[in-house]
Symmetry: C2
Subunit: 203 residues, 2 copies
DNA sequence: TGTACATCAGTGAACGCGCGTTCACTGATGTAC
DNA sequence: TGTACATCAGTGAACGCGCGTTCACTGATGTAC
């Protein structure tokens, strides 16, 4: 394996192209992300990008999958780190805070993840990472109607907050501390006691 | 004014192009909306579209402004139609239901509205329509911290629900009745009594 | 330790395409007198 | 009622650009013997 500059083989081109794509999206949005721009930023010809990912959608699929994996990690850590264990209401709250924080600190990943028309949404890697998050959210693989509505409510409120925040739609009056804002907003959520949480296991 | 086909002057080209753009976005997403495609669908040359809107961003600005105007109308009607008047908790709930319903029935408008990078977000028409919605939401032009957090919570939950629904991210188990789902989800929201609502007047 | 060979990773050039924008133009409409 | 003229609305052609994709190629690496 070779990491020196100037050599014919890059050595880590695949992850380098993903990182380049993320940077471009952060700067210019997904519309500004092209195979050519990513290759340029990674210092290779654009044909090399096509070689590794097959197509533009292929590269964006890799970005989305990377995002889902990172998100699953962030949420899992938040749940496991909650003061009273994974079955407590605190676990749900900390997960929500982590969800919004992830979106704000990884805007490019977040933006791509929730625009499925940009990538191959049937990618197995991606689906696997999504499944982890989903299980954490509903507290079970097979939630009952109660769990489902509660999970959707919680997901909606944090997803909406993250989206509106990233779009600059929220009043300046809220300040810059996204964790604090999330806690303030989440305080308006009324969730039932969780059942069946024993299904949640660390990844 | 001339509405016959085949004449040199279209007569209603501006609104026709906006409608064409909306249809294209509904079919192919904003990425598929080009000045040329909109002109093609309206049956004119693409230079005519450039003449009326100046640029692609100009046309999308008109779409977004149209969306904000329709949204303001829908929310105002919902609030005014609430059983116990505009100061009741029901008003807030009905507004939330109307918000999600608007998004689901006008996905193209909704998608553009919440992608400010696509259009001129300082457009006066657009800002005016946005202001109407904002006032309804927070129950005041100058909300206190309490009102603000409650408004952001309510906005977040309906916006998140609408976005996730449109993306196909929610479980099929929820069914197809978006109004019912919204009510179920909104039931998990705990809002304080509204104050200062007397500032809300019909538009 | 050496050599032959297969495979992998990236190059460089070329392709056709649709795009936004610009421009001189002309047909249609409205208005002043 | 007519006529001259200004303005508006749309045409058609042209432009340069960056894009994704394809392809024959070559340099580098890994492996079998």
């Amino acid at each position: 394996m070779n990491t020196s500059r100037g050599s014919y083989h890059h050595g880590h081109l695949r992850p380098a192209l993903i990182a380049a794509a993320v940077e471009i999206i952060a700067d210019a949005g997904p519309a500004g992300m092209t195979l050519r721009a990513a290759a340029r930023r990674a210092g290779v010809t654009h044909a090399a990008a096509a070689y590794h990912f097959g197509s533009k959608a292929g590269l964006l699929t890799a970005v989305a999958a990377d995002g889902y994996r990172r998100q699953a990690t962030a949420l899992t850590q938040a749940v496991l780190g909650a003061p009273n264990g994974i079955e407590s209401g605190r676990a749900m709250l900390e997960m929500g805070v982590a969800y919004v924080r992830f979106a704000v600190t990884h805007p490019a990943h977040f933006e791509v993840m929730y625009r499925p028309e940009l990538y191959h949404s049937d990618d197995p890697d991606l689906l696997a990472a999504k499944a982890v998050t989903r299980k954490l959210l509903y507290g079970s693989e097979r939630p009952d109607e109660q769990q489902l509505a509660a999970g959707v409510a919680a997901w909606s409120i944090v997803h909406g907050l993250a989206t509106l925040w990233l779009n600059g739609d929220l009043p300046d009056q809220l300040g810059n501390d996204i964790d604090a804002v999330t806690r303030q907003v989440a305080a308006h959520l009324r969730l039932p006691r969780r059942r069946g949480s024993s299904g949640v296991t660390p990844a």
